[in-house]
């Protein structure tokens, strides 16, 4: 047995963030720790290399790594263990590798100066990097995200450790790149590498891990073989996590409750938004970020734009919002010119088109409380005084935030609550069109589920059209009616969600779909425990 931990407790300043955790890892096995943010999974992983953090108090009844009792370890013992017995891979190598040192230098550092140039190149080759010699003299920022992550993995295995811990190794990556990294880890597993995988995403671990531990609030709520946990989860939390993952199957139902959504009132004859041949170029070389993009959006309809980073989807959103002028093409709102208007003219109509940004917090004036934030959109429609207060309370109530939130400051709110405030603000002036740019991608999956349910509900009840930008195919197919797949500024495929995703014609769409991790089918059981109130 490589790792044997019994009753692990980790505390900071008297607060226990991990309680009574048992973890065993056999050689050659892949174990996954799964949980949402704050579940204690990362600090557990870090405690395995003695890096739980400054001020951490780590105790355990039994804590044995490769036969050594680490409860008596001092710093120098830990240093001897790190890298040699346990390698560590963090998410996003852009910040997890020293940006000021060359890859080759870092490989040498990681092997404690023992790896020669040739060995460094061999290490890079072993993680699937071609041109290894050239990569050695490059800096992390000169590599693409996937290559960087491979280089980071190479540093972790430089001293051929018995165990590699990968903490969210693919979180910051695009779906197709994410798949490549997962394939690499799968390869290493086949080569007999022991792996401890930390993730918030049950789907990612589904076809990689042998065993799964599901953590919540510092405790393991359920553990067992992966297939078993995923197909027949015993603990309600596990079930809720699984249910919260949007998928083709979840279309038309609430993710949190499984209940049917209200039917949408789509009026295909009433076109709210029409974009024609939009083109936007940037930089001195006039590279087209958006290249001949056209679409229409009907009243009450939800249109998804999906694509990886750099596909131009955000620029499209900004053009639609009138924040960026297109170089060519035009945008019309309800048949009236929009992109052709001057800003003062546009101002008169801005109340009808509202925006929800990915990062809700930065979209709030830091000096404002919730009441002022939500009320500000009502300036444009001339609602002041008591009427404004009434409307603000109304929309806050619609997003399940009570009057007590009125004078709260956004900094004091959780991520989910902030996004609710943003949604309330967007709906306050009763817009005809809502543009949402990655509104849920920074949220944990259970919170994401709540927000998606809320958006679906409000859209259906208000009849507002929705332009929904996302990198996440799962979210898009859950929420939207039609979809545009963008790549390098162009629309490569579009149509009804069901048909596009069921029968993708463009190879890129197919690759995106393939990269989606799939969960094994399971019998859906309605959850008896209702979602906790957001407050």
């Amino acid at each position: 047995m490589l790792v044997d931990i019994h009753n692990l407790i980790i505390g900071f300043d008297g607060t226990e963030v991990v309680r009574g955790l048992d973890l065993t890892i056999q050689r050659g096995e892949i174990v996954a720790l799964v949980g949402e943010s704050g579940s204690g999974k990362s600090v557990t992983a870090r405690s395995l290399v003695g890096l739980a953090g400054p001020g951490a108090r780590v105790t355990a009844d039994r804590f044995i790594i490769d036969g050594a009792d680490v409860t008596r370890f001092r710093e120098r013992d830990w240093r001897a263990l790190r890298g040699r017995k346990i390698g560590f891979v963090l998410q996003d190598a852009l910040v997890s590798l020293d940006p000021l040192r060359r890859i080759g230098q870092q490989l040498a550092d990681a092997s404690r100066g023992r790896a020669s140039r040739a060995e460094g190149a061999a290490l890079l080759a072993s993680v699937g990097m071609r041109d290894a010699e050239r990569r050695l003299v490059q800096y992390p920022h000169q590599l693409s995200g996937g290559l960087r992550q491979r280089a980071l993995i190479a540093t972790a295995i430089a001293q051929d450790p018995a165990l590699v811990i990968a903490d969210e190794p693919t979180t910051a990556l695009d779906a197709t790149v994410q798949k490549q990294i997962l394939d690499l880890l799968r390869q290493r597993r086949r080569a007999g590498q022991t792996l401890l995988l930390i993730s918030h995403d049950l789907a990612i671990v589904a076809d990689l891990a042998d065993r799964v531990l599901v953590m919540r609030d510092g405790e393991v709520v359920e553990h067992g073989p992966t297939a078993h946990i995923l197909s027949a989860p015993a603990h309600p939390y596990t079930r809720r996590l699984l249910d919260a993952i949007p998928s083709p199957r979840s279309r038309g139902t609430q993710l949190t409750t499984g209940q049917r959504l209200l039917p949408k009132r789509i009026d295909p004859l009433h076109v709210v938004l029409e974009a024609r041949h939009l083109v936007k170029r940037y930089g001195r070389d006039q590279v087209a970020a958006v290249d001949d993009v056209s679409f229409t959006l009907a009243a009450g309809e939800a249109l998804g734009i999906v694509g990886e980073s750099g596909s131009g989807k955000t620029t499209v959103a900004r053009i639609v919002l009138g924040l960026v002028e297109p170089d060519d093409g035009r945008v019309e709102l309800a048949g009236q010119p929009w992109s052709a208007l001057s800003e003062p003219e546009r101002r008169l109509h801005r109340a009808g088109i509202q925006f929800i940004a990915q990062d809700a917090l930065s979209s709030f004036d830091p000096r404002y409380d919730v009441g002022r934030i939500v009320g500000e959109t009502l300036d444009a429609v001339g609602v002041f005084g008591a009427a404004r207060r009434r409307r603000v309370l109304e929309v806050l109530d619609a997003v399940r935030l009570g009057p007590s939130f009125l004078d709260r400051h956004p900094r004091e709110l959780s991520g989910g609550q902030r996004q609710r405030v943003a949604i309330a603000r967007a709906f306050a002036p009763r817009p005809r069109l809502l543009v949402a740019d990655e509104p849920v991608s920074a949220l944990d999956v259970s919170i994401q589920a709540q927000i998606l349910d809320l958006l679906a509900e409000l859209q259906a009840t208000s009849g507002t059209s929705l332009l929904f930008i996302s990198h996440d195919l799962g979210v898009v197919q859950h929420l939207t009616d039609r979809v545009l797949v963008m790549k390098e500024g162009r629309v490569v495929e579009s149509g009804e969600v069901g048909s596009v995703l069921a029968r993708p014609r463009h190879p890129y769409t197919q690759a995106l779909l393939e990269a989606l991790p799939s969960l094994p089918a399971r019998v859906r059981q309605p959850d008896p425990v209702l979602e906790r109130s957001a407050s």
Partner: protein, 326 residues
């Protein structure tokens, strides 16, 4: 495929091409503009100087028409202003800053003879500042009590006027303990107190920036990665952290070189050291404009040189600023 997840890619990649070279070139160009502005300012101020040039020249001697005529002829004051301006530019281009009316001497020669003691003092003070900053930052970053003590010491040092620090150091080390000489610029020991009183305040400020940078670097995810390789704390601090922290500190230090120059003005006065500072003070008090302006132009030139050096040093320190080779 682009790196940064949420950046629109078209903006970044080609624009980075040669950006740094352009930045350095731009820096030098704006430095030249600064120098030209300083030179022109010099000419204008001579024209606007209170009292006419002749009375400045005559100084304490009684004024007779004969004396006046002799001086007018000697200084060529009859030409049109534009001609005088062009001649002035031409002279400055050739390193000729004219004559000091009051000191009866060549300004360029005067400045040249004063540079060395000032350069010695500022270099020593810069050394003190850097050594203090690095030691204080590396040994105390991220260590709760030590950083607090060091932080307080730095706050006090940064709040202490260098001239008073100099006086106190003199009182303690020279007058009371008689360990170090009061004045002079010959022996190395005579440089100790001036360099300390000039350098410590700057060292304190740089030290704070360095420590903060170091602490920020140590909290970066890569620090965790590096530690997971089994690297020792000191290696992490020196090899990885210091370089990150050095970026803002180098920028600050480059800016502080100018401060050292102006600080030298006072320090030289306190310690009775010769140098540019003393000449400057006397020139300012005597409204000896040619000397003041030459010193100003010189310090602007020093600024241009140091800021270019800082840009190049940043380039060496941070590959991300260099043009992309991939």
């Amino acid at each position: 495929m682009s790196d940064a997840a949420l950046l629109e890619p078209a903006i970044a990649a080609p624009a980075r091409h040669g950006r740094m070279l352009r930045q350095v070139a731009g820096r030098v160009a704006s430095g030249l503009v600064v120098l030209w502005a300083a030179v022109t300012l010099g000419f204008v101020s001579l024209q606007l100087a209170p009292g006419d040039i002749v009375s400045l020249l005559i100084g304490e001697q009684p004024r007779t028409p004969a004396v006046e005529a002799a001086i007018r002829a000697e200084w060529g004051l009859g030409d049109p202003v534009a001609v005088q301006y062009l001649r002035y530019l031409w002279r400055v281009l050739h390193g000729d800053f004219g004559r000091s009316y009051i000191l009866q001497t060549d300004v360029s020669g005067l400045i040249a003879s004063q540079i060395w003691p000032t350069a010695k003092l500022t270099a020593a003070a810069l050394g003190v500042a850097i050594v203090f900053a690095v030691l204080s930052a590396v040994t105390t970053a991220g260590r709760s009590w030590a950083r607090r003590v060091a932080g307080s010491v730095e706050l006090v040092l940064a709040s202490t006027p260098s001239f008073w620090l100099g006086i106190v150091l003199l009182f303690v080390f020279s007058f009371t303990l008689k360990l170090l000489p009061v004045a002079g610029d010959r022996t190395l020991s005579a440089l100790v107190l001036p360099a300390l009183s000039l350098g410590l305040a700057l060292g304190a400020v740089v030290g704070q920036v360095l420590r903060e940078g170091l602490e920020r670097a140590l909290e970066e995810p890569f620090a965790l990665t590096v530690r997971s390789w089994g690297t020792t704390g000191l290696v992490l601090r020196v090899r990885h952290g210091l370089r990150h922290a050095a970026l803002p500190a180098v920028t600050l230090t480059g800016w502080l070189v100018g401060h050292l120059l102006s600080g030298a003005v006072i320090t030289e006065q306190v310690f009775g050291r010769p140098g540019l500072g003393r000449v400057t003070v006397e020139a300012v008090l005597g409204q000896d404009l040619p000397v003041v302006l030459a010193v100003a132009i010189l310090s602007a030139a020093v600024f241009v040189v140091t800021s270019t050096a800082v840009d190049i040093l940043s380039l060496l320190l941070d590959p991300r600023l260099r043009r992309d080779r991939s």
